[in-house]
Structures are given as C-alpha cells and as structure tokens.
Symmetry: C6
Subunit: 252 residues, 6 copies
C-alpha cells in the first residue's frame, strides 16, 4: 500500500517529510508570533495552484485585501487564480461588515460559530474543487473555550478529510510556550509541524521540526529555515541545536 | 504461584516485561502526541488475533473505517478477523451518526457516558469471547471532570478484569508533560507504560519505560524503540538516556 | 523514659528506624504510583501477625478478594489469620455491592464518609484486638476537599492512637511530585516515610527516606530498597544519591 | 514591489529595521518597568514632527501636562507643534476632570471604552493629518479582560492602518516577564519590539530585540541601547548577550 | 537605649540572636514537617520556667495530655509548673470534647474563632503572669482564609505585646516550600526564624536561619542544629551551606 | 533644564541616585520581609527634618507609638518635630480605636478606603507644609484587589505630586519573590528601588538596586548596604553580585 502524498512546494520541506504530506492529513502548523506560520500556509496554497491543485485559504487574522497584498510581496498573485475559479479566499475576518460584503464571495459572519465556518469552507471547497485548504488560524475557534477544542478540531478534520482535502491548520501559541496547543488539539490532528524563533546568545534563529505525521516516516531532526523574498526555504541537510544556536550537517 | 501472562506480540516488549503482561491487568499506555500509543494498542490486539486470542478495539479518536485503513498500513487486516467473529471494533467516535450506524455493529452514542461505554464493551467482549481489550483513548472519559477520573478508571478496570480480559488503556497527555495522567488515573491502574518522544540536540528520539506492573518484576530501564513498516519494535538490550540522547547496552 | 516500639518486620527497616516505629504513632507512607506503598503496608500487617500481633488492613483501592490474592504472591496467607480472628480486612472498596456484602464482614459503604469509615475500623480493631492498622489509602478521604484533609487526618490519628494501635496510612501522590501530600496531612501525622521511584540515566531506582518520626531518632539517610518475591528489603547500610543514581556505604 | 518605510528617528534603530518601520504597521513596543518604552514612543513622534510628519500622542499613563514637561527634558518641545496644528496630544488620563477639560482639546473620558478611545484618536488623526500615532499604553484597554485583548487590538490596528498611520502601541509587562503580552496581543500586531532591562552580575543592562516585523527583513540580533540626554540611542553594530552581560561586535 | 532581651534557653541560639529575643517581639518560627518547630517552642517555654519566667503554651496540633508526655521525653516536666501556677497549657485541640473539659483549665472551643482564642490566651497570661507565650501553631487560624492572615497576625501580636509577652508563633509550611508563610504573615511579625530539613546527597541536614528580628542585629548565617535527648542544640560557630551539605566554621 | 532633587539623607544613597530623588517623584520602595524598607522610609523622613524639610509619615503596619519608639533606636526623635509642627505621623493602624483617638491627630479609620486615606494625608501635608511623605506600606491598599492597584497608585501619586511632595511608597512582597509588586504598581510609579536580603552559601546579604527613576540617570549597579545603629548606609563604590555573594569595586 503506497501513501498518496501532497507536495508542500516549500523548498526542502518535502525532503523533511519523506516526499510530502500524506493525502487528506490535517496538519497543525504551530508556533509563536513572528515564526512564519502565515507565510508557510500561504506558500502551501500557492505552490498547489502552480501545480494545478485548486485551493482554499481561510483568513481569520487579516483582511482578505491585506492577504492578497501580503502574498504579492513574495510574488504570489492570489487574485489571478481567484478569477480563474481555482482559488477561494474565505473571509472570516471582516464579519461581512463594510465593503468586504460586496467584494468577497465567501464570508463567515461569526468565525466563533464553528458550524457556519465549516459550512462556508465546505461550499468554497466544492466550488473550486479544492485539494488543499489552509486556515489561518484555528486559534480563535477555541481560545475562549479550551474544553471544546478537541471537538471542534475533530469536526474540522472530518469535514476536510471527507472532502478529500489535505489541510494546514495554523495554531498560535504564546512566545516561549512549550507544547503545541494543548492535548485536545495535539491529539486530534494527523500531523504537527512546529515553527520556532529562538534567541540564542543575542541572535534570533528560525527552525522547524515535524513532531508527528500519520501515514509516513519523516525526518526526526530540527531543521533551520529562512524567510526570503520568495518565501520559506528549509535546509533538510542541516540540523539546528536549540540551546547552543549551532547548525550542523545531518548525520545518522 | 505462577503468574499467567499475555504476550504483547510487540518484538522486544515481552522481554521488557519479563514474559508479558500479567493476565487481567489493566495497563495505562500513556504518552504525548506522536509517541505511537495508537499503534502500540492496535499491535497488541493484532498479535493476539494472530495467536488465536479474540479481541476488542474501542476507538474514541478515529473513525472505525479510518482505523481499519490505518492498520492496513502495517499489514494488519482487521476486517478479516471481524468477519470471522474474532474481533470487535467498538465505534465510540461517530456517535452513530451518518452511515456508521448501518455498518458498525458496536456503537457508543455518547462516549462521555461511562455506563453506556462499559455496557457496549461488555457486550462486545462477550460476543467475541475476547481475551484482550484496547481502548484508544480513555482520556475523553474524564478530561472535563478530573475529580471523577479515579472512579471511572476503577469501574472500567473492574469490568475488564471481571470478564477475564487483559487491557491496554491509552491515555493522552500534553507534549512535554511529566507524570502519567494525574494521581487518580496513575494509582487506579495495574500497570503504567510510558511512551516518549524527546528532542535532544536537534533530533527526536523514541523510548519507553515500564513504570509499574502489578504481579511481575520488569525491566527497570528506559528502552529505545522504532516505528517500522511492521509496527513497533523495542530494543530490550539497549538503554536510552534522555538528557544526552545516548543509547547504550543494558548492563547491571 | 524508654519508647515502646513496633517492629516493621521489613528486613532492614527497623535499623533505619532505630528499632521500629514508636508505639501508637500514625505514620504517613507516601509515594507516587508503582513505588511499593501497598506492599509495604501489607508486609507491616503480615509481620505483625507472624509475631502474634493482630491487625486490621483497610482497603480502599483494591477488591478485598484481590488483596488476599496479591499478598499470596509474596507467600502471605491473609485468609488463614482472618479465619483465626486475628486479622480483619475492612472492605472500603466494593461499597457492599455485589457478593462482597455476603462474604466480607467489615464493609464501609461510603468511604468518603469519614465517620462511617472510622466507625467500622474501630469495630474491627476491637473485634480482633488489633495492635496494627494499615489503611491503603487515605487519599480518597480528602482528595476532593483538601481544606478538610487536616481535620480528617487528626480524627483518624486520634481514634487509632486512642485504641492503642500503631498505624500506616498510605498516601498517594502524583508521579514526580515533591512534598508528601500537602501541609495539612504532613503536619498532622507522627511520622513520614517516603518511597521513591526515580529514573536516573535510563534506569529506575527504588529508595526510601524517613522524613520525620516522633519519639525516636532515625536514620537521616536515603536508603535503597528492593521488591523481591518475599516483599520489601531495605538496605540500611547503603545510601542512595538521587541525582547521580549512585549507591554507597553509609558513613558519618 | 518596494515597501514604504517610516523612519523611527531613533539613532541606530532604522539600521536594526533595515530602513525603518514599513508604513501602516502597528508595532507593539513591549517591556517591563523602567525599560524606556515611553521615551521610545515619544521620540518616534518627535522625530516625525521634525521631519514634517504630523503625529498623535495618546497618553493613558501620565497627565498631558506632565508629558509635555517630561519630553522637554530631552529637548523636545511638544507644545510648539501642537500650536502649529501638527501634533495632537490625546488626554486619556485625566478623564476630563479638573482643568484638563478646559485646556486639552482631545479628551477620552473613559479609556476602557475602546469605542470612545478609537473615536477620539480618529478625530485627532484627521485634524492634524497624522502619519504617526503612539499610544502609551494600550495595557489598560484589556488588562482586566484578557479574553477581549485580541479583538481590541484588531480594532485599533484596523482603524490606524485604515487612516494611513504607522503606530507604536506601548505594552506594559511585569518585570522579568517572558513573552510580549499574551498570544492575543502578540499575534494581532504587525511587529513586536521588546525593550529589556536585565541585571547581570550586579549591573543593569539595556537592550532591545525586534521579534517580528511584517513586510521587511530586520536584524535578528539583540542590540544594546542607552538613554541619553537626547533620548534613546541604539547600537546596531553591537550584540548583547543576555546571560553573560557581554557585548560584542555583530558578526555573521 | 538598650534593648531588653529574653533568653531562648536553647544552647547556641542566644549567640545567634546577639543575646536573645528583644522583649515583646512576636517571632514567627516557620518550617516544614519534621523540622523541630514544636520542640523549639516547648524548649523556649521550659527554659523560661527554669529561669523563673512564667509561660503559656497554646496547643492546636496535639492533645494537651500528649504535649505533657512528649516534653517528658526531653526531661521537661510541664505538669509540675502547671501545678505551681507558673505555666498554663491552653487546649485549643480537643474543642473541650471528652474528658479534656474536666481536666483542662484553659479550653478554646473553636480555634478558628480568633476572638475566642485571643480571649482565652489573655486570661491564661494574666493568671500566671506570663512573660513568654508559644502558640503551636498559628497555621489553622488562617489556612482556609489567606486574605485575613495579615489581620489575624496583627491582632495576636498586638495582644501579646500589649500584655508584655515575648512570643513564638509556630507556622507550618509544606515540605520544600520556599518563603515563610506568605507576605501577610511575614510582614506582620517582628521576627522570623526558619527551621529547615534538607536532603543533600542522600542525607538529611538540620539548619536554621534568622531572617529578621526587629530591635537587634543577629547572625546573618545559616547554622546547623541537632535534636538531642535534651532538646535542640544550635552550633553558632558553624555555617551550613545548603546546596553542598557542607558545614564549616564561621568566618567573616 | 535642571532637575530639582531631594536628598535621601541616607549615606551613599544620593550618589547612587546621581544626587537624590527628582522632586515630586513617587518612588516605590519594594522588598521582602526583613529587608529594611521601614527603616529606609523613616530615615528619609528624618533626614528631611534635620535639613529643614517638613514631612509626613503614614503608618499602616505599626502602632504610631511603636513607630516613635522604634526610630529612637536609631537616635531619631520624631516626637520633638511633631511638637514643633514639622512632622505629622498619620495613624492608619489603630483605626482610631483605643487611646490612639485621643493622642493621635491624624487618624485614618479605614485604611482600605483610599479616599479617606488620601484625604487625611492631604490634610497632614497642608498642615505641616510637608515636602516629603513616606507611606509604610501601600500594600494593604490593594492586596485584596489587585485589579484596582493601578488606579489607587495613580490617585496617590497625583495627589502627592500635586501637593509638591516627594514620596516613598513602601511595598511588601513575599520573601524570594521576583518582580516589584505586579505590573499595575510597577508602571504607575516614577521610580523603583528594591531592597534585597539573599542567602548565599549560608550567609545573608543586604543589597539594593535602583530599577527606574524618572527624570535622572542613576547607578545601574546593585550596591551592598548595612543596617547600623544609625540607620542604613549604602556603599556606592561597591557592586554586589547576587549569585556568588561576591562584593567588588565599581568599575566601568
């Protein structure tokens, strides 16, 4: 039995994942402020589009207009694919207030209402026949009600996998927080990728580690990465050692 | 007085347990996300089937259809044994909603209702004359009500031992959490096996340790293990030292 | 003024206690899961019986039938002494439900009702003219109500000392917990013995330390111990150093 | 696509930011007591005025009269620019009680009422055609209601960016607190600059680090800074290593 | 102005206190279980009696009969001085239930009722014209209501100083707890003496330190002490270093 | 613009503050039990009197009679200046109960009523034309209601600065507590001086550090100090290194 995989499109990341994310997996992308979670999730959608896989980007943290503008900074033109009916940007930010209601096709009025959110995403996935979904972020869905986090994550995951989508669920944690978002969230998802920003001896370092990924072996190392003009670039040949801010070649 | 034992079927694990799990013990299998708890519990059921011991697998975290698909990845065909009446998969995930109600024989509508859950498991055990039970996981039974954890664990344990079953109770803890699930749970069970995933110098390591096991002596060491295409494989001859990510031969 | 002492009967333990537990002391035996508290308390009762001192064993954590079966594993036949009227096993586990009500003579229906528990223990002590009492464990008496822990412990202690009994009160703490059960409990008892299970460099170690014991000097060292086929065996000539997992001879 | 930038005017700071703060960014300036947050935010406004960019300074922590007096200590004459209609000082301190109501043009009666605060700031920005806004501090807006912090920060940020302003939002944390103000605040803003005061070997050290800044690369180093008679002065060529109180040249 | 002092009577302790406790000071004697607080407080009363200073011992933790028996173990005959009208033992333990009401002259029915407690102590102090008071312990007075701890301690202190008494107020903290009982208690008293029991490299060590003492300079060192057959004996010439379990001569 | 300064009168302290406390600053003097906060605040008032600056001492922690007695121990005669109308002692301790109401001129009946406290202090300041105020301590004003701490501190500070007074506000923290009293208090005041008492290798050390002081540069070092028969004496030429209990010369 071979596992179908979805390429992340992020240079170096597929090598870390032994070929990509197993199809239909819901992957928690977790990290503190400034770690690059949003860029990672947008790049995942963009690279899918470039490879012919339609996608849905759900924004809860930024105005959809701002999202389109931000990705342009990396040379990614979301508007074009939206016009071709291959990309849907779901606006779960404005609440449909202001001019957004006129211009945005997919609007979630109350993003803390999981049913509404799931309904709109389902519609968007069906419309563009999406294979990839990114939600930036899932944190507001349960931040005020940790006891239901597990249930909400299960619902989301079931819907997305049921529709045949591979998904990135961005999760925000406080700076310097250990763990990945609490047991309810961590155990509900199929995979966990953690992005880190660490100060070591007066210098900030970026690194990521795949903590779990159902259906595939993966690198068991922490890899350094950079945010460049063209997005994220992971170095699968290097290992980053957190306490010492040391980077060395992968060896076994 | 000799203790009757149940072989785990996991390569290397029986050596760690001086021959297997003492019959009728309820063993807490505890660990963070991505540590391999689900695979361990499924392998325990599978190896029993292969040795002619009927089993019950109770799933609270994954759709029963997904469970059957996942185990196939390790070459374990659950469906076949279900058809022969030697394995029961108890669906405590779907709530009997959707098509599951038609296809699944054992359905728990409300898994937070301990009485219903216990009733359905009892029925399944009786039907297949099970000698082994795995519950993945027991965490939702008490996650919102820690004060009753002890009582629920006692009820489960009494039912399972009363029916003559040896059982694995999967328990989820947050990543990096010490302890095994709180005093109420830890003291209620007959054994505790902890699976760990640790980052040491930029690399992830898997290891397990048997913290307690009533009715038998057992290895007092932390052993490294791997997750392979054929499931978990423990190395009983090696000791894993957590802080240094060092593996060495067992010596006394 | 010489202090009357009660021998623990546990090889090496009396040396640690400069001759045994001062008569009528209520001793807290505290430790995490798997540390051997239950065995210690049963061995204390058994050795009393063998020396001609009647005893009472109160079980809140295990079915009385299971208790009798477990101790047989160490060659201790509780049933025989029960039949002779020298040992009372108080069942505070089953709640008198099921066949226990027929077979068990001493049943506590609601173990969280301290008055009922104390009443039944008093009756049992009087009936067998007990000199030793072990309660395994006192934790459920106050686990949901820490503010009354002190009061409950005082009541128990007053009753037991008033009846002339020397007692072991088992207390469960979470794995890796420091302290002995909170100030309310720690200050209420006459003595504290702590059993530990520590992982040092991939190996588990057993050790105990006497933290306080009214009415006698005692070893101020942490001693290693083993659980053998014949119960616990303490090495009073050896000191265990926790951080380094090192064992060395006692010196002054 | 080139990013428009706003010069901080703080010697050395623009170098740290690769040229300044990207236009319209809302930047969280966070730090413990005595770290220099207020001076930084006032210098940001002052240098804008000197370069011809009108500004708004919102004071929640100090009487507006005291603010004008304090900045004079650094040679910055706020009054003059206010008279010219290029600077608005918004009084969210006095509540309009006392003589403030007569002398202050922009008064927020209840600073915990986010709508009123936003309304008054909007008016002030429009009146002076401000390009820069500093709010000292945003902490009282959510200190008693952390669950709404995210929502309030989003509202503020949307208003300020919508009006074309680049803003500094001062955030107070307790001395020695790690993190930047909690996940709700940290993820809502476009940038985070942290000011620190650390005792190392009996000496206090000042340093800052840019933790995130949307729309630009920035120094990944912790830089030492001083508070002089003329305000803050950052040393972009030096790196401060916190644990050792060591300062060394930037190298790559 | 010379400070009047009260000798503790504990060998070595007066040297630590530069001559004794300043008259009328209320001193918090704080420590975990098994540290020797009760013995210290009883020895303080006993040595006063032997020097002709009447005293009051208030017991909240032990039956007055048991108190008298315990002190005999050190050769201190409380009963004799009680009969001479020079010592009052205030029974705040039995609640006046049982035979205590007949034999005990000073009974506090509800020790959590601070007014009643203070009233009975006042009566006892007046009756025997006490110069010394020890309360073992004050912890139950505020353990369930930390917010009133400060107020209760102030009341006690005012009463005791007002009557001309020097007092030892025993305070119980959990094992391994840092601090002395919380800010409310720590700041209310005139002095703080902390007794410690520390495990260092598998051995228990006893030591004490005077943290504050109004009205006098005192040793700024941590001194080792022993509990012998004749009570506590402090070594004012030695310094105990906690982390290393090292004892060395006092030097300056 | 030159800053007007108020000399602390404490030997060595003005050097630490580059000449004294800037006029009208409200300075938080914070520390654990036994650190010398009360003495520092009294010495500040006393030295003002000796230099001809009237003062107000507000006592919330000690009976005014006891205050006068305590300061005599350092040779400071408060009564004399009170009689001359140059010093007011505000009694916020007795609540006006007992004889205090007859003898004390300035009585605060309910010190938790901030309005009453502020009213009485205002009256006292006006009566003696005070330039200095010390409040020992402000902790009871907000200890039970941390959410209003910020507001109360602002009120106090506004009143004191408005009346032209330079003030010391004593704040009590628990022993071993880091920080200075929580963000609400720390950010509200103009300056923070922290007094410490640290045990290093079995010896207690006194030191202080100025953490912030609006309107002036100040020593960025931790300085050792002593409490002598004549009050506090700071050594501005020495630096105290906390972890090693080491004292060395100031160097740059």
């Amino acid at each position: 039995m071979t596992v179908e995989r979805v390429s992340t499109g992020i240079p170096g990341m597929d090598e870390v994942l032994n070929g990509g994310i197993p199809e239909r997996n819901a992957v928690l992308l977790t990290g503190g402020p400034g770690t690059g979670k949003t860029i990672f999730s947008q790049q995942f959608i963009w690279e899918g589009l470039e490879e012919g896989e339609p996608g849905v980007f759900v924004t809860l943290e930024e105005h959809p207009v701002q999202v389109r503008k931000n990705v342009e900074g990396f040379g990614w033109n979301f508007r074009e694919y939206e016009d071709e009916g291959l990309l849907a940007v779901v606006d779960a930010f404005t609440g449909g207030i202001g001019r957004a209601s006129e211009y945005e096709k997919y609007v979630v009025k109350d993003p803390t209402d999981a049913s509404e959110l799931i309904g709109v995403i389902r519609q968007a996935v069906n419309d563009v026949e999406a294979k990839r979904v990114a939600i930036d972020s899932v944190t507001p869905l349960y931040i005020d009600k940790p006891s239901v986090a597990r249930r909400i994550m299960f619902k989301l995951k079931r819907m997305l996998a049921g529709l045949g989508c591979t998904s990135i669920l961005v999760n925000q944690i406080a700076a310097h927080e250990r763990g990945f978002g609490g047991p309810g969230v961590e155990h509900a998802v199929d995979g966990i990728i953690r992005l880190d920003l660490d100060e070591v001896k007066g210098r900030l370092w970026r690194s990521l580690i795949v903590w779990k990924m159902r259906g595939t072996a993966h690198s068991m190392r922490r890899h350094p990465f950079d945010i460049t003009d063209e997005g994220i670039r992971v170095d699968p040949e290097k290992v980053f050692v957190k306490e010492h801010g040391e980077v060395r070649e992968v060896e076994d």
